[in-house]
């Protein structure tokens, strides 16, 4: 295998890295740096998407370090699209002081996403996680004029590095027990060795590391401050791209790598394995996320706690196991990511026009900007699981798969918990919409009582994302069938 062939197979990642470097150079040279850099970055992402489309259908290198399959290609495209929208959102926020650096970080984080998605080998996964994580820590702390940004970055970094340590310990223990780092090889070896306590420790530590990444309770404490304090594009990227890639990787690890030690999370049929661990994480996330979100008065913090709850719902898909569960979980997290980017887009506009993102800043948004209010309604209702939006189909898919999976409805407890969580969540999403549609403009927003002058680009982005959410709800087959077809047959 020559380096040229390797480069061809890794062309999307290479394109994005090159774009990052070009953006850095452009920012040194160009007059209106922000616009030029954003244009270059967006162009680079589009080229990377084209490069993904030109990849071969199936290829595995170095024992799983770089895997090209329909699933990885699909999710590379999804991650690149999410990065694209994040770049569009950087135009919405007040211009960061060093736009070139910020965009380069976004692009490097995207490389991390692609490495994560395209890998089925533990070491490469860890490298991807670190690349993603380090970029995100800096992105979260990027606004040096805001103390909350520094708080967000520091908390995210402290939590993140600790959980990276957990992940690394876990990975090394797994290696010790199974003697391999490629997921397929681990699975084969685990099937033959006897179950040891050390294996259990290794699995739990790895899962803990990933639970941090997906903001599952009780490893979610970084999320509220990161979502609220970080600059809007950073928060949007953390909420969307990072989550999607983490779920893809987590799914591959547990469903491919740890397949022999699955266990069962059925109500009267609990068997030790990773399944009950994920079920516990899911249950805790749903309960804690929804209950604490009830008490919030800041929209971004509310979105953070709702993110915890949605991580819980998605984990139900993994607990169900097999192809259907994986596919349902991936569909749900994709739809969720699109919705969150859109929601953060609206939050960014409101923040710029009224100086904050509490409920009072959103009051009367319907009269100031009906389009943004309508789009926010679409996003909030999709998160609540109201038809005909994408979130509703996602939940139906997840819950039906979960109920189908266990014999004799053994996962009914988890499904019921998920439904109760959705019910509770409707209340706080309606509170946001109440502020937007029902409340008259409050004092904080009163000065901006005239029609909000928002950028055409922001409006277009948010409208496009809202339309995507509606479309995915009315015609979910476009995405669902693709994901189901892409998920490998032998899970």
């Amino acid at each position: 295998m020559s380096y040229l062939e390797l480069l061809k197979l890794a062309s999307p990642e290479a394109v994005v890295v090159l774009t990052a470097l070009v953006v850095l150079s452009v920012s040194l040279v160009a007059e209106r740096a922000a616009a030029a850099c954003a244009f270059v970055a967006a162009l680079g992402i589009v080229l990377a998407i084209v490069a993904v489309l030109f990849l071969p259908r199936n290829e595995t290198l170095f024992g799983g370090m770089l895997v090209i399959s329909p699933l990885t290609s699909l999710f590379k495209i999804i991650c690149l699209a999410l990065a694209f929208f994040t770049i569009l959102l950087t135009r919405a926020e007040k211009a960061p002081r060093h736009p070139g650096e910020f965009l380069a970080l976004v692009l490097l984080a995207t490389v991390g996403l692609m490495l994560l998605v395209g890998s089925e080998e533990l070491l490469m996964i860890f490298i991807g996680l670190e690349l993603l994580g380090l970029s995100l820590y800096v992105m979260a702390a990027f606004d040096k004029t805001d103390v909350r940004s520094a708080e967000a970055g520091l908390k995210y970094f402290l939590f993140g590095s600790t959980s990276s340590a957990f992940t690394l310990f876990g990975i090394s223990l797994i290696y010790g027990v199974s003697g391999a780092t490629g997921l397929a090889a681990i699975s084969t070896n685990l099937a033959t060795t006897s179950v040891q306590p050390l294996l259990g420790v290794g699995i739990v530590m790895t899962l803990v590391g990933f639970a941090f990444k997906i903001a599952a309770a009780p490893f979610h404490l970084w999320a509220p401050d990161a979502y609220q304090g970080a600059p809007v594009p950073s928060a949007a990227f953390i909420a969307s791209g990072s989550k999607v890639a983490s779920f893809v990787v987590l799914g591959k690890i547990v469903l491919i790598g740890f397949a022999p030690v699955r266990g069962s999370a059925g109500w009267h049929a609990m068997v030790a394995g990773w399944s009950p661990v994920l079920a516990t994480l899911a249950a805790l996330s749903i309960v804690i996320g929804n209950l604490v979100a009830l008490a919030q008065s800041n929209v971004r913090r509310l979105l953070a706690y709702s993110a915890v709850a949605h991580a819980g719902y998605t984990l139900i898909g993994f607990v169900a196991g097999d192809r259907e569960g994986f596919s349902a979980a991936l569909f749900y997290t994709t739809v969720y990511a699109v919705t969150l980017v859109g929601a953060f887009g609206v939050v960014g506009v409101v923040r710029r026009e009224t100086g904050g993102d509490n409920f009072s800043n959103f009051s009367g948004l319907a009269s100031r900007s009906p389009l943004l209010a309508g789009c926010m309604a679409v996003f909030m209702l999709s998160l609540a699981g109201i038809p005909p939006l994408a979130g509703f189909f996602g939940k139906f898919y997840l819950f039906s798969v979960a109920l189908h999976a266990g014999a004799n409805h053994s996962l009914l407890w988890l499904v019921a918990l998920g439904l109760v969580g959705s019910f509770v969540s409707l209340y706080y999403y309606l509170l946001v919409l109440k502020a937007i549609f029902v409340d008259a403009a409050s004092l904080a927003a009163g000065e901006q009582a005239e029609r909000m002058r928002s950028d055409f680009l922001q409006r277009a982005t948010v409208t496009l994302l809202a339309a995507a959410v509606v479309l995915l709800g009315v015609m979910p087959n476009t995405l669902a069938s693709r994901i189901l077809a892409a998920v490998p047959q032998n899970l």
């Binding site: 038809p387 509703f392 819950f399 039906s400 499904v415 439904l419 409707l426 309606l430 549609f437 069938s481």
Partner: protein
């Protein structure tokens, strides 16, 4: 062709968002009238024999991997409900002709509710039915919270959360049916034999979920609060049609899919229904706000529907469907008078205050309409309420004779609170405020006259209830064959 009722209503809803405010009510009127016209044309032109089975209209694959199809079907029961939705929708738009603020949003949410109702009544796929069922929930919130009156934010949130709460149980029931039956198609599932043990717990979960929306006692408290808080059009539609979504779906889904479960639990449904009839009537007797009286009367009438369903014989269930139609019209009429005709002009709904205004002289048309409406509500022969209730009671006599005795007592209570409300609101002679007794006779010139759209809407509703009351065979001919082929009767 009847599927176009859904598409035209949705299309109208989206269209009026994009056009200037002045057009909103006209587009809404056109869309609802088109829906009514389609319903009437299909009603008149379809041979009765074709309506006996749940015949497919449209069946297009939606998500093949999960077995979801866009599947619409029609039978006599569905057609009756589509017709009453059309009538109620047109009258709702007519009675909202004078909405002043944010007309686009008002009619958008209204048309969404109507379209969702059409969808539920025509759905033959479990997932599709659930989509339309849940779709109606959020527009209700905005209609009440933005455009409502008394305690609107609390009423809106309570109503919405209760509906979603019921939807939760429905979701579980639907998932269980889907996972065990392997299909989402209602026709296929109604052939499937679920195990009796499964049915024993799945049926109550599913039926209870639907019955929350139908106002079953004791999960009914959202209805009076919500309907009193809603704007007139909202109350007309919510009490008239949306509550029927619950009972219709209970019939179409719960009773057909889990017939043995239904047999096990039908007695308890009858018990709760009868309690609801009497309890709601008794509470209505004590209300001071006219809209609350009507709200509780809606719960009481829905109790009759649930009683009819619980009888498990063709006559009782047909009576229940007829009562769904009849109450849809009557509730619309009652709320129209209380909300639009009275409240908009006198700005009060307190019975004590109204009794001092001698409204029968000041608003003779409104008084006439309210007399007709209360007569129909009480079950006076000649109006649709009598035809429906007598059919239900005859059906109930065969299965639960005691229920007939108790419901009979309930009917007396219904007459009591209805007559009290009628007398105090329109024919009162003195108002008691504190220690002072005042008598005022307000003349006709004090109030804006009843507008033409209001008159048209009122006449439409009154004629409907009269026509069905005088000739119920018109509807029963189409309802009974459809009910007789339903599975739970065999």
């Amino acid at each position: 062709m009847i599927a176009w009722t859904i598409y035209l209503t949705f299309g109208g809803a989206v269209l009026l968002l994009l056009l200037p405010r002045a057009f909103a009510r006209w587009i809404a009127l056109l869309a609802t009238m088109a829906g009514l016209a389609l319903g009437t044309v299909v009603f008149v032109s379809t041979p009765i024999a074709d309506l006996a089975h749940f015949a497919t209209i449209v069946r297009v694959p939606w998500v093949p991997a999960l077995g979801m199809n866009y599947h619409l079907a029609l039978d006599g029961v569905s057609l009756t409900m589509v017709l009453v939705t059309g009538i109620s929708a047109v009258s709702t738009v007519l009675f909202s002709w004078d909405v002043e603020h944010r007309q686009n949003e008002f009619f958008f949410w209204l048309l969404l509710v109507v379209a969702g109702c059409y969808g539920v009544f025509l759905s033959a796929d479990l997932f599709l039915l659930f989509v339309f069922y849940e779709l109606v929930i959020v527009p209700k919130y905005f209609l009440i919270a933005i455009f409502g009156s008394t305690n609107k934010e609390y009423g809106a949130m309570k109503l919405t959360l209760y509906s979603f709460f019921g939807g939760m149980f429905v979701f579980v029931g639907i998932l269980v049916a889907y996972v065990n039956g392997g299909s989402l198609d209602l026709n296929q599932l109604s052939q499937f034999e679920f195990s009796p043990q499964l049915q024993s717990w799945a049926f109550p979960v599913l039926f209870l979920g639907f019955a929350v929306l139908a106002g079953i006692w004791p999960l009914h408290t959202w209805a009076p609060t919500g309907h009193a808080a809603a704007p007139t059009a909202g109350s007309m539609l919510l009490a008239g049609i949306v509550m029927k979504l619950g009972s219709y779906a209970g019939l179409r889904v719960a009773m057909n899919l889990f017939p043995q479960g239904f047999q096990m639990w039908s007695k308890w449904i009858a018990v709760l229904a009868v309690i609801g009839i009497v309890y709601a009537a008794a509470v209505a007797l004590r209300q001071c706000d006219l809209k609350f009286v009507i709200g509780y009367s809606s719960v009481s009438h829905m109790g009759f529907v649930l009683l009819g369903l619980a009888t498990a014989n063709a006559l009782g269930v047909s009576g229940a469907v007829l009562q769904m139609f009849s109450h849809g019209v009557i509730a619309a009429l009652l709320f129209a008078v209380a909300g639009r005709m009275i409240y908009r002009r006198t700005h009060t709904r307190e019975l004590d205050a109204l009794s001092g205004m001698n409204l029968s002289h000041a608003m003779p048309f409104a008084a006439f309409t309210f007399v007709v409406a209360t007569a129909a509500s009480m079950g006076i022969p000649g109006f649709s309420g009598f035809a429906a209730e007598i059919t239900i009671l005859i059906g109930a006599w065969k299965t639960y004779p005691i229920a007939v005795w108790i419901a009979g007592a309930g009917i007396v209570l219904v007459a009591a609170f209805t007559l009290r409300a009628l007398k105090l609101s329109f024919f009162g002679e003195k108002a008691v405020q504190g220690e002072v007794t005042t008598v005022t006779t307000l003349s006709r010139e004090e109030f804006n006259p009843i507008t033409i759209p209001e008159k048209i809407g009122a006449c439409m509703l009154m004629l409907t209830t009269l026509a069905v009351g005088v000739y119920p065979k018109l509807l029963l001919d189409r309802i009974m064959p459809a009910v007789e082929t339903m599975r739970f009767l065999k």
